[in-house]
């Protein structure tokens, strides 16, 4: 079997292209369908690792701290995203708990796995379980719902501000910071590791 590491195939329209060498701000696109070709942007391992670590830490902060504080007639209440997921745990909605929890934690899992892989990649070796981990990371990508979390928190705040006094919590700021971090961490061209590492 022959492999063609210098070639690349568009995922959506199945066209074959030559892998170009890209500069810092450049990316390659398919001419037929316009899809950004995979593994086609510059990759800096250190940067990716730093971003992944930051994502993981900020994610823990966003999950552990309440995102919204609510005040009505002197009685206060607050909730973290974790608690919002656990709300489904009782009663009729119990089947929803596990999927929602998993979906919430996808960014954490993804960034932790990335850190693991990248840490070893920084040293130039491939991490143990590199191949399956890389596949898992790729598979988790579509389920990364951080933006949805942020927007849902904002919408919940606006929805409740009609009846109650609403304050943002630390978790919300962490979530807001997490969004660009996560975006950057996920857009890192990790699949370049396939070529760089043996």
């Amino acid at each position: 079997m022959r492999i063609y590491p210098h070639l690349i195939i568009c995922e959506h329209c199945d066209r074959v292209y030559q892998r170009p060498a890209l500069g810092r701000q450049q990316s390659a696109h398919c001419t037929a369908c316009g899809l950004k070709l995979p593994c086609s942007c510059a990759f800096k391992c250190e940067q990716a690792l730093a971003l992944s670590m930051a994502t993981a830490i900020v994610f823990v902060l966003a999950m552990a701290n309440p995102v919204i504080f609510v005040d009505v007639m002197g009685h206060q209440s607050n909730a973290t995203l974790w608690q919002a997921a656990m709300v489904f745990a009782q009663g009729v909605c119990a089947p929803m708990t596990l999927p929602v929890m998993l979906i919430l934690f996808v960014p954490l899992i993804q960034s932790l796995l990335q850190c693991w892989v990248l840490a070893f990649a920084l040293k130039g070796v491939s991490a143990p379980g590199f191949a399956p981990l890389m596949r898992v990371i790729g598979g988790l990508q579509p389920w990364n719902l951080i933006e949805v979390c942020l927007l849902s928190v904002l919408i919940a705040m606006i929805k409740l501000s009609g009846y109650l006094v609403v304050h943002p919590g630390v978790g919300l700021w962490a979530l807001a910071v997490l969004n660009p971090l996560n975006g950057l961490a996920c857009s890192q061209n990790i699949c370049s590791l396939w070529e760089q590492l043996p």
Partner: protein, 205 residues
């Protein structure tokens, strides 16, 4: 586009690993680099997409008819469905929220149903016109897919916050389970659809 399109992998007898994007010879079964199974197209893409789509459509009815949330204040309880919530916000003057919820909970899932259905239909019929646009449409569907989870998370947050016993308390109801399942099914359906089928010429297969 004036220049001719490059050859497809199928024409050239190449296949790309969906795991590590390595291009290999066609007859290979497993990617030598990452060990993932190699296949030209996603296996049973059409049937899986269709099945998941049908399941999502069927579950969409109870998701909209059953109440998603039950709010009680001073002993008075009221349950509202998704559309009921949208109308309540609309009548209350909160047009922005009503619009957002309508988009996220009604427009997007319905758009997904229609789009995926149409894509399946076109692939089934072997239409060749507008393939690029359809691919872009597929990309859009994939992109907006997960935004429908918004409603589930909003319900979860509101229920977790408003827990003041008599003064007001909110509980999730079964409707939200169906809705969440619908969103997940549509996401799975979209991901199991192989967009390369759009570009396939049925005459070749």
């Amino acid at each position: 586009m004036s220049q001719p399109l490059p050859a497809t992998a199928q024409e050239l007898g190449l296949v790309a690993c969906h795991g590590c994007k390595l291009v290999c010879d066609a007859p290979a079964i497993r990617c030598p680099r990452c060990g993932a199974r190699l296949h030209y197209r996603k296996p049973a893409s059409m049937s899986r997409t269709l099945a998941l789509l049908c399941a999502a459509v069927m579950l969409y009815l109870p998701a909209n008819l059953l109440p998603v949330m039950r709010s009680s204040q001073f002993g008075q309880a009221s349950e509202n469905t998704i559309i009921g919530g949208v109308l309540a916000f609309w009548h209350a003057g909160e047009f922005g929220i009503a619009l957002v919820i309508f988009l996220a909970s009604v427009a997007i899932p319905c758009a997904k149903f229609l789009t995926l259905g149409w894509l399946l239909w076109c692939v089934h019929r072997g239409h060749q016109i507008g393939r690029r646009q359809r691919t872009q449409l597929y990309r859009a569907v994939e992109f907006i897919g997960y935004w429908s989870m918004l409603d589930v998370l909003v319900v979860g947050l509101v229920c977790a916050l408003v827990r003041f016993n008599l003064l007001g308390s909110v509980e999730p109801r079964s409707g939200i389970v169906f809705f969440g399942v619908v969103v997940i099914l549509t996401m799975l359906s979209a991901s199991s659809f192989d967009p390369r089928l759009i570009w396939d010429d049925p005459k070749h297969d």
